[in-house]
């Protein structure tokens, strides 16, 4: 399993992501955003978290014009698996590879804490190691994590099973930290090969540090 992890100026979760995936036995490579190609044998492309281009203008807005993005478009359009974590999710929505947009948190504060998430749908390559309805504990750390999509778009996400994760409490009841429409924490595209989520599974891989619920999720990303 070969994983390419993207690095923009301002990305700061690439090494955590690398550590997490290597712990699970994957071979990883960090790709600088100036590269116009991504390794051909990439099985999974990860856009890691952070603050690409200082979040100037809007989170993820400038990164979508980086040289590497056209290679990502081609890779994704050919069915390649793409995972965007936090700022990576913002980049994917800005690049229109995922529907919707991420706005400033409703309470206006940066939120950094563990949060429970419910698996809404596991009929996709990313979450197939988990069961629909599972509740997992994963950290969130964002200022612009308030997912927005209009009513028609939301309906489409529901019909196509594109809502993968929702923010909940420990019992799986909706608990919304940031004002996201329908408490959405992660969505995939219609073809189900591109997945974006605000929480950081790569930060939940050691029980010593609070939770290892991220491992199951990351293992799903490694499957098939």
């Amino acid at each position: 399993m070969k994983i390419s992890i993207l690095q923009f100026p301002g990305t700061n979760c690439e090494y955590d992501t690398q550590y997490a995936f290597e712990k699970l036995g994957a071979i990883t490579q960090i790709i600088w955003h100036k590269s116009t190609t991504i390794p051909e044998d990439t099985d999974l492309l990860v856009i890691a978290g952070g603050f690409s281009y200082g979040d100037y203008l809007r989170s993820g807005a400038i990164a979508k014009f980086s040289p590497v993005m056209s290679a990502i478009n081609t890779y994704a359009n050919n069915g390649g698996k793409v995972l965007g974590i936090c700022n990576g999710f913002q980049v994917l929505t800005e690049a229109r590879l995922l529907p919707g947009a991420l706005k400033r948190n409703k309470g206006l504060h940066f939120i950094s804490k563990y949060h429970y998430l419910k698996v809404e749908n596991n009929e996709n390559v990313f979450l197939e190691k988990l069961n629909t309805g599972d509740v997992i504990n994963i950290p969130i750390a964002h200022h612009d994590g308030n997912y927005y999509i209009d009513d028609a778009g939301l309906k489409e996400l529901e019909v196509n099973g594109q809502i993968l994760l929702k923010y909940t409490d420990a019992n799986g009841e909706i608990k919304n930290p940031n004002g996201s429409v329908a408490s959405i924490a992660g969505v995939c595209n219609k073809e189900k090969n591109i997945f974006g989520l605000m929480p950081h599974p790569e930060r939940a891989i050691e029980t010593l540090l609070g939770s290892d619920d991220g491992i199951k999720m990351l293992q799903g990303f490694l499957a098939s």
């Binding site: 203008l57 809007r58 807005a61 014009f65 929505t93 800005e94 919707g100 947009a101 706005k103 400033r104 948190n105 409703k106 309470g107 206006l108 308030n146 927005y148 999509i149 004002g179």
Partner: protein
């Protein structure tokens, strides 16, 4: 020529910052404020004098970068 671009969240998309400022103004006893919307202004210095071309160029800039049309509207003024 200058282009003044104003970008705001669309009507119907919750503007949390606007709401917070609205509350603050009300608590300062400015009771006549009914709504606050916060946006950003981007000022572009352009070369050339062709207004029609400038308008079409800046519209393209807004669509591609300056605004995220999923959540934002924009206005363009040329002076």
């Amino acid at each position: 020529m200058k282009a003044i671009v104003n970008v705001f969240l669309k009507a119907g998309v919750l503007d949390s910052q606007g709401k917070a400022v609205h509350h603050a103004l009300n608590s300062l006893k400015f009771d006549n404020v009914e709504d606050v919307r916060i946006g950003k202004q981007i000022v572009l210095q352009l070369n050339g004098t062709d207004k029609a071309k400038a308008m079409s160029d800046v519209t393209k800039m807004c669509e591609e970068l300056l605004a995220n049309t999923v959540i934002e509207d924009y206005t363009i003024e040329l002076i």
